[in-house]
């Protein structure tokens, strides 16, 4: 609409971008689709990345955020694939949940190769926490308790059964040789904070989620993290041991990133990748990450595309192994 109204200005901008090439950045008002209602992680991705892109000048106009909730991101995915496949001014928020659902064929037959993944610029480390007064001290203790009596330990998480939070627990149990996954008690509640509430209230014995969801409760001493699911300990949370160093080889981070339509030109793809890299390097983003409990996790361009492909294949295999999908 604004393009029509500002006819001559838009034309000038288009000429300018033609003249100067793609390296100068994005020149039109772009749109970021958050495939969920306002308030979640995807919404945060669009709003914060969009705001920083505008603030530091990689885009000229503020990025317009559209919330398109539906099908756990499937509605937006379908929309992009079938209606906007060549829209170069469109970015879509994505995360590990997007990859998980694609791997589990939860988007009604849509596959990961129908869009192009641009990059991720931060990741929320996976964590497993217990209430502060819990007798359980370490991750192996928790897993042993499940092995001894699966009915005695219930987990709460912010994703549905078979979702990313559930998989974290199942992966860890898989590593200690426990395969009777249907006996593991897991309830999916409305978000990580709710899962913590249920655990602190004693209704469940442990909570599986992301670091950002527990930061406040960790500081207030309501919960204790028994493990963080990263390669290295997370800066700022150095006293939380990784699962790996406890002998459980599980790494699960919830990255925050973007995808774009499939049929845009390589220049346009590169333009977004560069823009994302600029955001990743900015102090504004560093500030946002710290405030939201995100750890640095920068992968852009083809590097990221390969990473997503690997993750999708891995989750697909694992979901089959543990019986979440056929």
């Amino acid at each position: 609409m604004s393009k029509v109204r500002l006819g001559s200005a838009g034309l000038a901008a288009a000429l300018l971008s033609l003249g100067l090439g793609a390296g100068t950045g994005v020149t039109h008002a772009a749109e970021c689709i958050a495939p969920a209602n306002p308030g979640g992680g995807w919404d945060f991705t669009c709003r914060s990345i969009g705001k920083i892109m505008y603030d530091i000048g990689v885009v000229e106009d503020p990025i317009q955020v559209t919330n398109m909730a539906g099908g756990g991101g499937g509605l937006a995915f379908t929309h992009v694939v079938s209606e906007r496949a060549d829209d170069a001014e469109l970015i879509v928020a994505a995360s590990s949940a997007t990859a998980t659902r694609l791997a589990q064929n939860a988007y009604g037959g849509m596959t990961a190769d129908q869009v192009r993944f641009v990059g991720a610029i931060g990741a929320d480390p996976g964590v497993i926490v217990v209430a502060d007064d819990s007798p359980i001290q370490t991750l192996p203790e928790l897993l042993d308790a499940v092995k001894a009596d699966p009915a005695s330990v219930a987990f709460a998480g912010g994703s549905a059964v078979g979702g990313f939070d559930h998989l974290k627990v199942l992966m860890a149990l898989d590593r200690v040789g426990f395969s009777d996954i249907t006996s593991v008690k897991y309830i999916g509640v409305d978000g990580g904070a709710d899962a913590v509430t249920q655990t602190v209230g004693g209704f469940t014995q442990a909570m599986t989620g992301d670091m950002s969801e527990i930061v406040g409760f960790l500081k207030s001493g309501d919960v204790r993290a028994v493990a963080v699911l990263t390669e290295e300990r997370v800066p700022g949370f150095d006293d939380i041991p990784t699962a790996k160093e406890q002998g459980i080889d599980v790494v699960a981070v919830n990255w925050r990133g973007l995808y774009v339509p499939k049929d845009i030109s390589d220049e346009d793809y590169q333009k977004w990748a560069d823009a994302l890299q600029t955001v990743a390097d900015s102090p504004e983003w560093a500030e946002q990450m710290e405030a939201n409990g995100l750890a640095p996790f920068t992968r852009v361009g083809s590097d990221f595309q390969n990473y997503v492909d690997e993750v999708v294949a891995e989750i697909n295999q694992m979901s089959k192994d543990i019986g979440v999908i056929q």
Partner: protein, 507 residues
């Protein structure tokens, strides 16, 4: 006393001319957003967030603007409930039951002023409750597990039959339709789609706003067309605005009771304002001695849900600020706003960022007073919008509905769904089936099912888990009493005889 010095600091933040202006602007925008069907408070706040950023507002200012919009929308929702019989947003649903009959009886302005005052009492007391008790009340959320939530929703449903007192069976039928619609979408416990017919648009279920606007606004359009505009219900005359002092005094007890109920419902994450207004209405109806006027324009039936839903709006800020758990759709949006502003709500917010919290509380108190002024003496301005002839108004309302619903998900599917609900609403109104229980079924059905499923997972399928705690047992007793008591009390309360055209054919 520390509280008061902190509050004084808060007022120092909130009382500078610029923030005060933001509060007033937010209240006006919010009331408009609330009054327009199809634009709920969560949409209103979500749409305005980019605005806050482009003005370059700082954290406190942005928060003050947004919460003013939030409270304003809670006030505004009642206006179209009373004047058009179309709830402006979900929590204003219950206000249609008595507010609209009151308006029809020529007491529209009384209903508006009374509900404005009730909103003020509910919201103001809830804000004070938030101020004094928030850190303590946060603990309440820890006491509610799946079994307790299930019992709470059961309590709501067991009193539902009383909504349409003329025909309980039709109310029950409507509730079942609502529950069936609630089952559509992704099953939270297993992640499997149900009743979606493979349609991606139905994966997240049916949005309440789509159902509300369809059942109330669109069906009204059909009735209007059918009668060539003659028998349209819309078009209430606004008489001179006076303060119905007698009603306000008479309903003061109602307001206070409803405020307490609403506030508690608000504190519980997930229950939210709709449950608050519903429980407040039902509690009032079942405890007062003569409830025969309920549903026909009883001032208490107007005061109760409005005090209840506004108190719940304040209550919902408790878990959002202290736990980071949003108690409603709108608080989820506010939570996102806070996160974007680098403020992480949680147990430490009150100690780490006191200037934000107390500035917010002071702003809420100010916003309430502004809203009381806007909604009582100046209610005419808002009413003007709605008092144009129905031939002009209805197309306008329809247009706003379409735009509002389209803005929800940006898909035309919701528009088609809304029209389908309009047809359903038209048929049901012809059959004299109440539509309010349908909305409640959609609104609460999912939460109730999720709670039950989670309880079953935790207990390994043991049903006794559902009444294994004191809180759960208390709620069960209340639910059973709420269900059975009206059946017995009916014999003792002589209702005025009414002639219902459909009663005979219904058998």
């Amino acid at each position: 006393m520390e509280t008061f010095s902190l509050l004084a600091d808060g007022f120092a933040v909130a009382l500078n001319p610029f923030t005060l202006m933001l509060a007033v602007a937010g209240c006006i925008i919010g009331t408009m957003v609330g009054a327009l069907p199809g634009l709920g408070p969560s949409n209103g706040v979500a749409i305005l967030i980019p605005l806050a950023f482009s003005f370059g507002l700082d954290a406190t200012e942005a928060l003050i603007l947004m919460t003013s919009v939030y409270y304003g929308a809670m006030y505004g929702g009642r206006i179209s409930s009373i004047l058009l019989n179309i709830p402006g947003d979900e929590p204003a649903l219950m206000t249609t039951l008595d507010g609209y009959p009151m308006a029809k009886a020529g007491r529209a302005s009384d209903a508006l002023v009374l509900s404005g005052v009730a909103s003020f009492v509910g919201a103001f007391l809830a804000t004070i409750g938030l101020m004094l008790l928030a850190p303590m009340l946060a603990q309440v959320a820890f006491l509610f597990g799946p079994a307790e939530y299930f019992a709470l929703y059961l309590l709501a449903f067991s009193t539902l039959g009383g909504i349409a007192s003329n025909n309980q069976r039709k109310a029950a039928l409507a509730a079942c339709i609502g529950l069936a619609i609630a089952m559509i979408g992704l099953d939270n416990s297993s992640g499997m789609p149900r009743l979606t017919g493979g349609n991606m648009h139905l994966m997240d279920g049916v949005d309440f706003l789509v159902a509300i606007v369809g059942l109330f606004a669109v069906s009204e359009v059909f009735i209007f067309i059918e009668s060539h505009g003659k028998s349209s219900a819309i078009g209430v005359k606004i008489d001179k605005i006076t303060i119905p002092v007698k009603d306000i005094v008479r309903t003061s007890g109602t307001m206070l009771r409803s405020t307490v109920i609403g506030f508690i419902a608000g504190i519980l994450p997930g229950a939210g304002a709709s449950l608050g207004s519903f429980l407040a209405y039902m509690a009032e109806k079942s405890t007062v001695r003569d409830n025969s006027r309920f549903g026909k324009g009883d001032p208490r039936g107007v005061a109760a849900p409005e005090a209840g839903n506004n108190a719940a709006a304040g209550g919902a800020l408790v878990p959002m600020l202290t736990l980071g758990v949003p108690g409603s759709g709108t608080t989820a949006v506010l939570l996102a706003l806070l996160m974007t502003l680098n403020i992480t709500p949680g147990p430490l917010l009150f100690t780490e960022r006191p200037e934000v919290v107390w500035g917010l509380i002071a702003a809420l108190l100010i916003a309430n007073i502004v809203l009381l002024i806007l909604n009582v003496p100046m209610v005419r301005i808002f009413v003007k919008v709605l008092s144009v002839p129905p031939g002009v108004l209805l197309p306008g309302v329809t247009m706003v509905s379409f735009v509002g619903i389209y803005s929800l998900s940006g898909s035309s599917f919701d528009l088609l769904l809304m029209i389908a609900f309009g047809v359903l609403g038209y048929l049901l109104r012809k059959l004299d089936v109440p539509t309010v229980p349908i909305i409640l079924g959609i609104l609460l059905g999912n939460h109730m099912e999720d709670s039950l499923r989670r309880a079953m997972v935790l207990s390994g399928g043991d049903w006794q888990y559902l009444y294994s705690s004191k809180i759960a047992i208390g709620l069960w007793i209340a639910a059973i009493v709420g269900f059975i008591a009206p059946l017995f009390l009916k014999r003792f309360i002589t209702k005025p005889s009414r002639v219902e055209p459909d009663e005979a054919s219904d058998g």
